[in-house]
């Protein structure tokens, strides 16, 4: 069921990606639906599942964007792992907790991309700091709105933690 939700979420994210690409070509510079999906899924605390989700979501994003193939997969996997790892140890529930995780995930995602682009392409991303702030704010707002809507319409906590025993 969780994977089905993830798949539906991925299709929605891809739809949003296509829509924004078609009608507002620069919109994805301010907003990343894939991070929301990965953060949402990783809140369950299942690190294994989060890594797979991060890889799949990232590869899909890479396939339909002009970046190096694997760049977003790498960054989203890192985000997914961190969020899932934190959630496997802390009992984070509710919109604010999701907001904190999502905000952190966006920042980590952008930082990882920044570092990888520097390493692999020897390029600097222009106006990185401004882009990071804008993307974090918009993605956060949109993600928390979606979280609230899911809670409202599914009438249950959308994230059901599947906690592992405490590990390192």
């Amino acid at each position: 069921m969780r994977w089905l939700r993830f798949l539906v979420g991925l299709l929605i994210a891809l739809t949003l990606h296509s829509l924004l690409d078609s009608f507002f070509p620069n919109a994805l510079a301010f907003f990343n639906p894939y991070v929301i999906l990965v953060a949402y899924y990783s809140m369950g605390g299942n690190i294994f599942g989060a890594i797979i989700a991060g890889v799949i979501a990232g590869l899909v994003q890479d396939a339909f964007s002009g970046a190096i193939f694997g760049l977003h997969a790498f960054s989203l996997t890192v985000c997914a792992y961190i969020v899932a790892y934190i959630n496997s140890r802390l009992d984070l529930r509710g919109t604010w907790a999701f907001g904190a995780c999502l905000g952190g995930a966006v920042i980590v995602n952008e930082l990882v991309i920044y570092i990888l682009v520097n390493i692999l392409l020897k390029q600097r991303i222009e106006m990185f700091e401004q882009g990071l702030v804008v993307k974090t704010v918009f993605t956060l707002l949109f993600g928390m709105l979606i979280y609230q809507l899911l809670t409202l319409f599914l009438r249950e906590e959308p994230i059901q933690p599947t906690r592992r025993p405490a590990a390192w």
Partner: protein, 285 residues
């Protein structure tokens, strides 16, 4: 062989490291190929192929929605444009009618003006306000009277020819006897031969009297005023001869059709003719 409990928690982390390593290799491969034309690896192509229905569907739906939206906008624009064009057509039709009317008026008035300038006598313009051409006695009423200088026996013409003479004036109206009236006589001549005669109305047209049987008269000859009756100036066209037959006595029977269509007279020129003093008219040697 059972896996020890402390190894199991490490698996995600190991998986994480392995995955990141593989992704790094993938990125490196992709980075190398993207600058030599082969921008898509097989793996990337596979992912794209699997998920391609989504962008295609979005594009198809988006395109149709956009087409519908533009169609709707175009339709709204067309409806508004149609409405505006209808209004414009109505306005232009009205304007066109007015202009046609003005053009017609202008043409008529110009011809009248041009015609009135031929006369050395004073002239003035008048409008017909009543028209009685149904009976044997034919008359029209014009909107100028004695206050405007109109006098009895002033000649009335329009651009086509002679209409008649003033027989009665009030302060602001005048009655005009038409040349087709049975009591009307006009001293006239045939333009081609200059043969003079008396034209009298017969209720429908006019008859030219006193033209000898031997005189040269042809169908189509124009008849003008002769200027011998002290009322009508010389040279005003009256009509055209449509029938000329030998009479029972010394004179011919000549039927003349007036040049003026009395049923459509609107503006007329009043020629203020110089009147012959009554004493001279009554004088008999």
């Amino acid at each position: 062989m059972a896996v020890s409990a402390d190894v199991i928690p490490r698996r995600p982390t190991l998986l994480f490291i392995v995955v990141l390593s593989l992704l790094f290799v993938l990125m490196s491969a992709s980075r190398r190929t993207r600058y030599i034309g082969e921008t898509r690896t097989l793996f990337e192509r596979s992912v794209m192929t699997i998920f391609s229905p989504v962008p295609k569907a979005v594009n198809w739906v988006g395109g149709n929605v956009e087409d519908m939206y533009h169609g709707y906008l175009d339709m709204r624009r067309a409806v508004n444009e149609n409405l505006q064009l209808h209004r414009k057509i109505a306005s232009l039709t009205t304007e066109n009618l007015k202009l046609r009317q003005s053009e017609s008026d202008l043409r008529r008035l110009r011809s009248l003006l041009g015609y009135s300038e031929q006369f050395s006598m004073n002239t003035s313009m008048a409008h017909t306000i009543m028209l009685d051409t149904s009976g044997r006695f034919k008359a029209i009423i014009i909107d100028r009277g004695s206050a405007n200088g109109v006098e009895v026996n002033d000649a009335i013409v329009n651009a086509n020819g002679l209409i008649g003479r003033v027989v009665l004036t009030t302060k602001d109206l005048s009655k005009v006897q038409l040349v087709t009236d049975a009591n009307c006589s006009v001293g006239s001549l045939i333009e081609r031969t200059r043969r003079q005669g008396i034209l009298r109305g017969d209720g429908k047209g006019a008859i030219l009297h006193d033209i000898p049987s031997l005189a040269d008269v042809q169908i189509g000859d124009r008849v003008l005023t002769a200027g011998i009756d002290g009322i009508y100036p010389k040279g005003i066209p009256i009509g055209t001869i449509v029938r000329a037959e030998p009479g029972q006595d010394l004179f011919k029977q000549i039927q003349v059709t007036p040049l003026v269509d009395f049923g459509s007279v609107e503006e007329v020129i009043v020629i203020h003719t110089r009147k012959i003093p009554a004493a001279i008219v009554r004088y008999a040697p």
